[in-house]
Subunit: 226 residues, 2 copies
């Protein structure tokens, strides 16, 4: 790609402020990919973007805020990759279960990014809106297949997503143990109308972990910018 | 009560800092009860507590933070009153349904306080811990009565509480309509193992509103201080 930075290239038709913001996000992706989450500082991001520190703060309140902006994009990537990984699964019970469990496992594989995803999902309504589209499609599929017997609408999709986030919060905060993904998937299936025995069997089946990490998505973003 | 302020009287054995904080909270309760939520200012609260504005900010970051501290107390009152209102209900299906629906209705009857309760429940772990004790008792009752067929532990109680909060968020933000309480109660019962038809019937039954408002609890707190 000839343009410097994937965010910058997307913002090239926009105003100066949007372009500077995009440049900062590209710089942040590079810094996160290079030095990791903890070590990345506002200083270094501003330096990499070739702007003054003060300019950074015109666009983002703090490191957390730019992390959320990047997490937003990463979440999109993960969602798409999860969807690809499920391309040969037709059964909606299997699909919703798989997505819930894998998403929680991926987000927990790198806790700092897990928290960033959690914050982004909770505080960036646009992120929930997008990932809820995938969820809604699977829930409607289950209704068509006769497995899910509740009304599928925004309220239900939101409830389903919140349950995933609550389990993620439990895992990240250390209150819930490693099987939080299975537990919440089982509860979700029961709620949707799947008989208890079947819900249990599906939710606790051994899961092959995907080779999908937040940092891989990040490196992908960084590479796409080169 | 001879001591000025219910918070102050509780803090009288504590250090100076805790007593000042308590005096600010008593002042806040008085100001909220007198001029309402919106009109209350840090200025006025500090004035009523007879401390400088700067002292206020030593104890609370902003108005939101003292609101949360007061909401914490109010939430406790509401929970206790809800529990009293259910004293003649033995059936756990009825109890959990009643508590979920009434809590959401009460919190939404005064939206500013609804948001304050939502924030407090989400960000003050201590509040969740306390209200979860009531929830857990009802969920265990349901397990004993044979109505609930899932494992009752901290994970489940948290999930149940999050669902209530998600429905509350939907109501407050205008995304969900007035029946959000019934909808989430129905989903909760299904999740717990109540057959769909029974869950629907219980969750959508006409509900007699309690004469319980956040502002009433507030006035109660203010009165107890006189």
């Amino acid at each position: 790609m000839s343009l410097k930075g994937i965010f910058a290239s997307e913002a090239r038709e926009q105003g100066k402020s949007a372009r500077t913001r995009a440049r900062l996000m590209d710089a942040a992706v590079g810094v996160f990919a290079r030095v990791g989450f903890e070590a990345a500082s506002v200083n270094e991001i501003a330096l990499a973007a070739d702007v003054a520190n003060g300019t950074f703060y015109l666009h983002f309140k703090d490191k957390d805020e730019i992390v959320s902006a990047v997490a937003f994009r990463i979440a999109g990537d993960i969602t798409r990759q999860l969807d690809d990984a499920m391309s040969d699964i037709d059964d909606a019970i299997e699909r919703t279960c798989f997505a819930t469990r894998q998403f929680i496992d991926i987000a927990c594989s790198e806790p700092e990014w897990g928290w960033a995803l959690f914050r982004a999902a909770w505080f960036l309504p646009e992120l929930r809106k997008r990932s809820n589209e995938y969820l809604r499609a699977d829930l409607q599929r289950g209704a068509r297949q006769g497995s899910f017997t509740v009304k599928i609408d925004a309220f239900l999709v939101d409830m389903f997503a919140s349950m995933v986030l609550t389990a993620l919060f439990g895992r990240l905060s250390g209150e819930a143990d490693k099987d939080a993904g299975s537990r919440v998937a089982e509860l979700q299936l029961r709620m949707l109308g799947v008989p208890g025995a079947k819900a249990k069997k599906t939710a606790w089946r051994k899961l092959e972990p995907l080779k999908l990490k937040v940092s891989t998505a990040l490196v992908g973003l960084a590479k796409a910018s080169e």
